[in-house]
């Protein structure tokens, strides 16, 4: 997959209200919900399926190496109700996406649950977001 990855733009401090004790299938214990990072890269796969929509992104780290990000969203029906669709993005698209990263430092994040959708811009076009 050709990558136009421009890299991880940076870590944005974000104070989010931790008031989501119940999500669709699981809690958020694996993620640092007080931190938001912005990932800029290329979509390699958009997996529109249950239990959660997942996008795979190739992005270049600050040190120049390619990072393979895995970012989860809510379930397909909930993303549809928020205005998304299976065509919201596809492999090869440029993506700038905010996400709460995994606590263990792995390039894994959560950008949406039933209660919120963080900023996601595909080929310059913002997708619907949702505040907590």
């Amino acid at each position: 997959m050709k990558s136009r990855s421009l890299g991880v733009l940076g870590v944005v401090a974000a104070l989010l209200v931790l008031s989501a004790p119940t999500l669709a299938h699981h809690g958020v214990a694996g993620y640092d919900m007080a931190k938001t990072v912005t990932v800029h890269g290329t979509v390699t796969k958009f997996d529109w399926s249950n239990p959660h929509v997942v996008v795979y992104v190739d992005a270049k780290s600050d040190s120049g190496e390619i990072q393979h990000w895995t970012i989860e969203f809510a379930s397909p029906v909930h993303m549809v109700r928020a205005g998304w669709s299976k065509s919201s993005m596809k492999a090869g698209d440029d993506i700038v996406i905010d996400t709460h990263p995994s606590r263990n430092g792995a390039p894994i994040g959560i950008t949406s649950t039933i209660t919120f959708i963080l900023k996601t811009v595909v080929n310059g076009q913002p997708l619907p977001t949702r505040s907590e």
Binding site: T22, A29, G30, N50, H52, P76, V77, N104, I114
Partner: protein
Amino acid sequence: MRTRAVVLIAAIVAALGFSRSLPAQSGQGSPGTKTPQASAAMPDLSGIWDPDFHGPEGIRLSSWDPSDPFAQHPEKTPMTPWAAEKFKSVRPPFGALQTLENTNDPVQRFCDPPGIPRIYMYPWEITFVQTPKIVYILYEYTKVWRAVAMDRDHPKDPDNSWMGDAIGRYEGDTFVVDTVGFNDKTWLDQTGHPHSDALHVIERFRRKDHDHLELSVTIDDPKAYTKNLTSAKVYKLTNAPMGETLCAYSEMKAFQDNVIDKTQTPGGK
């Protein structure tokens, strides 16, 4: 003398008929039929109901304990020693005790049916199909349904099942569902409170106004809890059609392997 005998027999028949119309509270009610209530007595529950996680009343319950709805202190729920011991082994993915490392949530781990009443803690829609003898409740999550019998009592010794044996009645504007005959394989809630096969659940659905449906759930399980637990939540009328939210094990396993488990190991390796 003969007249008194007839009156006595009539009284006995009436008493038997009355007893059949009462909900079985312990699963030991007499089997038999009842006359369904007239359609005019049916509160209209039609429409698709969304749990309204975004609205002010969209309470995201993680426990049925009314003193701890978000499961911040799930160990304080009034459990019997049997249930408290069982609760020690749970590794729930929700609430204050949440962990994603080796969770043993039967829904997340195995796509087990969430059962009743846990299914109401998921953020998916429900709808009703009301007929005189049976009211069907359809659940978007995992596309399961229940048939609530309006014309009979519980069997004397119901089989144990995931969804139980449900009978219903209307009390004014409220649809009351009385369910027994569960297995003990499901969790009561998102934080892993256990229940026994003596679980008895009472659901009360009432349309607060045209656009809002209140659900009150009472947990009656004396083997597991020292007192009944009752909590309520609100659903909102929606135009969003019910979609497909199946728990396919292959999909769940792939998600667990590719995403969840990698948040639990150093560096995601």
